[in-house]
């Protein structure tokens, strides 16, 4: 599904290397988690994969379902099935949440040569999905993320994911800012999407999210590299002992 090979990335504006050779493969149907200290490059990896400007790939490659990702525009990557749930979802005053989502859904369909979703059908689907995430009608009408609480923003990310039905979902700290109940809701939202054809890359600092979304593989990222890969037990180890041991081990 997602295949990242020896990915090296620096900032475009300054001479700062952030990713220093990331290798990672997510198979369809699998959930991979990435943990790692602050500033190790997790968000950068997610941005580079989704096509944000300001980064320069100096070496390596990334592909989705065999298609070279790094040559595509951000919107093409989305249409190819990549989705990023942002660590910090962006507020867009003046653009209604509903308008935004319908535009996105139909733009992706159009790019894939599929029929657009009618207004009525869209409304029906989004209402049902919003309900399971406890997103009320008022939130759908409001401008994208404007005035949303931290937790509401994260739920809104998952709603978008549910509507767009991507093949490869990257979740960047979707658990941060969520209360216990919201964490359950969000996890249920994610789990509902789990199926054989879909891959997940879940970036998190905490084991508790992984209690709800059970990962198949856990990676530890430090200083721009994946330094250790293991099973779910690796997340428990981090939770209990922090990163010191692992960092020492590979040093």
């Amino acid at each position: 599904m997602l295949e990242i090979k020896n990915l090296h990335v620096k900032l475009e504006e300054e001479d700062k290397q952030i990713l220093k050779g990331v290798n990672l493969t997510v198979e369809p149907g699998k959930v991979h988690a990435i943990m790692g200290p602050n500033g190790s490059g997790k968000s950068t990896l997610s941005y580079v994969l989704s096509g944000k400007e300001g980064y320069e790939v100096t070496e390596g490659s990334a592909s989705l379902g065999g298609e070279e990702l790094l040559d595509m525009e951000a919107e093409e990557r989305a249409a190819a099935g990549l989705f990023l749930a942002f660590q910090y979802p962006v507020e867009i005053p003046g653009v209604g949440n509903m308008t935004f989502l319908r535009t996105a859904v139909n733009a992706q369909r159009k790019a894939r040569g599929e029929d657009e979703m009618s207004a009525g059908e869209f409304l029906k689907v989004i209402r049902a999905k919003a309900k399971t995430l406890k997103i009320d009608a008022d939130m759908l009408k409001r401008p994208v993320n404007v005035g949303f609480s931290g937790g509401e923003k994260k739920r809104n990310e998952i709603l978008q994911m549910a509507m767009l039905e991507p093949k490869m979902c990257i979740l960047d700290e979707t658990d941060s800012g969520l209360d216990v109940d919201a964490m359950k809701l969000v996890s249920e939202g994610v789990n509902a999407l789990r199926d054989e054809g879909r891959g997940f890359l879940v970036i998190t600092h905490y084991q508790r999210l992984l209690d709800h979304i059970k990962p198949d593989v856990v990676h530890i990222m430090a200083d721009g590299r994946i330094i250790k890969t293991g099973g779910p037990e690796l997340a428990l180890e981090v939770e209990n002992n922090g990163y010191a041991d692992i960092l020492a081990e590979v040093a």
Partner: protein, 433 residues
């Protein structure tokens, strides 16, 4: 009006060059007097020149010169705006009233006449208003083109609203001759408690000088929505001169698209307590030929009045936008609430926005705020939209509409606002790459 001062020779020359070929239309004695007085104002002020304080950002030459530059007519092939709204249509073709194309002018709560008829009548209320509000406007800032209009305008409508007018009046302009050089003057009077909505649509002429004087009595409400549309070579200067009585309302919104030179002036005087005036505009300009100017002057001369100016401009490919807005709060105008915002969204580095926001306050118990900003597209928002699959051009359009939304929100009537949004979307869609 300021005391006569020595005028630049070039101003004298261009003024004389323009006036020499013009003759005052005839009419009743009062009308002739009003025209002569206006002509005298023009001669004292001289027509605008690029060195005048409020013409630094907008070159007045083509508005002033004797011969009007030609402007191609434009048939957009679009359905007329507001076809679905029940309204009384009044049609002007190249500045001339077209009775056949217009609806019957009788409507409950209002008397509508043609300026050219009114100017022949010995007794008419317009005597108290024609050129009067324009002249008052000259006292704060000289507007010679408006005085020129008062002197020479031959057509327009004269509207007297006595009650709540049951449906909007829609003045529909048609531009059919590429060399039409037109002056229109509308006189509108609202009696106490009256309520009137005026819509203006369509390109009026190759070169247009239009004035509208609106007298709003106590508790009356005037709503104005206008669209300056598709004629790319349009040159227009328009002036609204209005005076508000106690607890009255004035609301004006203008959507401007295209045009090589459009200067919209609005002079508002709040003279009755608790009155409220709003003037708003959304403008989209594409190309180095585009120049749009909003020049507003609001005088607070009564207690507890509110004024709002909300202007938003989206400019690309070298387009120019201008905003000059002033709030003057006189010493007795306590509890004034004055709000002014003018913002531009520049879609490239070649476009420019020139702003001159001004406050002049002589009362001590007032709230006045003004803000003027120039910005580019929010890259974070653009990426967010694109990451959801929205192509860059479409995402940009969404952000453009979002930017303009604050101005559109000033339109009270939802159906009218919806129609404005449609026009904007159409304009953007035609430019989609």
């Amino acid at each position: 009006m300021a005391a006569p001062k020595k005028m630049l020779q070039i101003k004298q020359d261009t003024t004389q060059a323009r006036l020499s070929s013009m003759t005052l239309p005839d009419g009743a004695t009062w009308a002739q007097d009003a025209r002569k007085a206006a002509l005298a104002r023009v001669e004292i002020m001289g027509l605008p020149h690029g060195r005048d304080e409020y013409w630094k950002f907008t070159k007045p030459d083509t508005l002033v010169q004797a011969a009007a530059p030609k402007a191609a007519t434009f048939d957009g092939g679009e359905a007329p705006l507001w076809d679905h709204i029940d309204r009384l249509k009044i049609v002007f073709v190249d500045g001339v009233f077209d009775a056949d194309a217009s609806d019957d002018l009788s409507l409950e709560g209002v008397t509508i006449e043609r300026l050219s008829d009114v100017m022949q009548k010995d007794i008419h209320w317009a005597k108290e208003q024609y050129g009067v509000l324009e002249q008052r406007g000259q006292e704060v800032v000289e507007r010679p083109l408006a005085a020129l209009n008062t002197a020479f305008a031959t057509d327009g409508i004269v509207v007297h609203a006595t009650g709540k007018v049951s449906k909007p009046i829609n003045i529909m302009y048609l531009h059919k001759s590429d060399s039409s050089d037109v002056m229109l003057h509308h006189c509108i009077k609202l009696d106490e408690g009256a309520d009137l909505t005026l819509l203006e649509t369509g390109p009026a002429a190759a070169r247009l000088n239009k004035s509208m004087e609106v007298e709003i009595a106590d508790h009356a409400g005037f709503h104005h929505v206008r669209v300056q549309g598709r004629d790319h070579e349009r040159r227009a200067v328009t002036g609204i001169f209005t005076r508000l009585g106690t607890e009255s309302t004035f609301k004006s919104f203008t959507l401007t698209m295209n045009g090589v030179l459009t200067r919209n002036e609005c002079v508002i005087e709040l003279t009755g307590d608790d009155a409220k005036a709003t003037v708003a505009g959304a403008c989209v300009g594409d190309g180095a030929d585009f120049h749009h100017d909003d020049t507003v002057f609001i005088t607070h001369d009564a207690v507890n009045c509110e004024s709002r100016q909300v202007f938003k401009k989206v400019l690309r490919n070298g387009a120019t936008g201008v905003f000059q807005g002033k709030i003057l709060v006189k010493a007795d105008a306590q509890k004034t609430d004055g709000y002014q915002i003018s913002q531009s969204l520049l879609l490239d580095g070649d476009s420019q926005f020139l702003a001159k926001p001004e406050l002049e306050i002589y009362a001590d118990d007032v709230i006045c705020s003004h803000g003027s900003t120039t910005g580019a597209i929010d890259e974070e928002a653009l990426f967010y939209l694109r990451s959801r699959g929205v192509p860059e051009a479409e995402a940009t359009d969404l952000l453009v509409l979002a930017f303009l939304a604050e101005a559109l929100e000033e339109i009270e009537d939802e159906a009218l606002a919806e129609a404005m949004l449609d026009r904007l979307e159409g304009w953007l869609a035609r430019r989609a790459s």
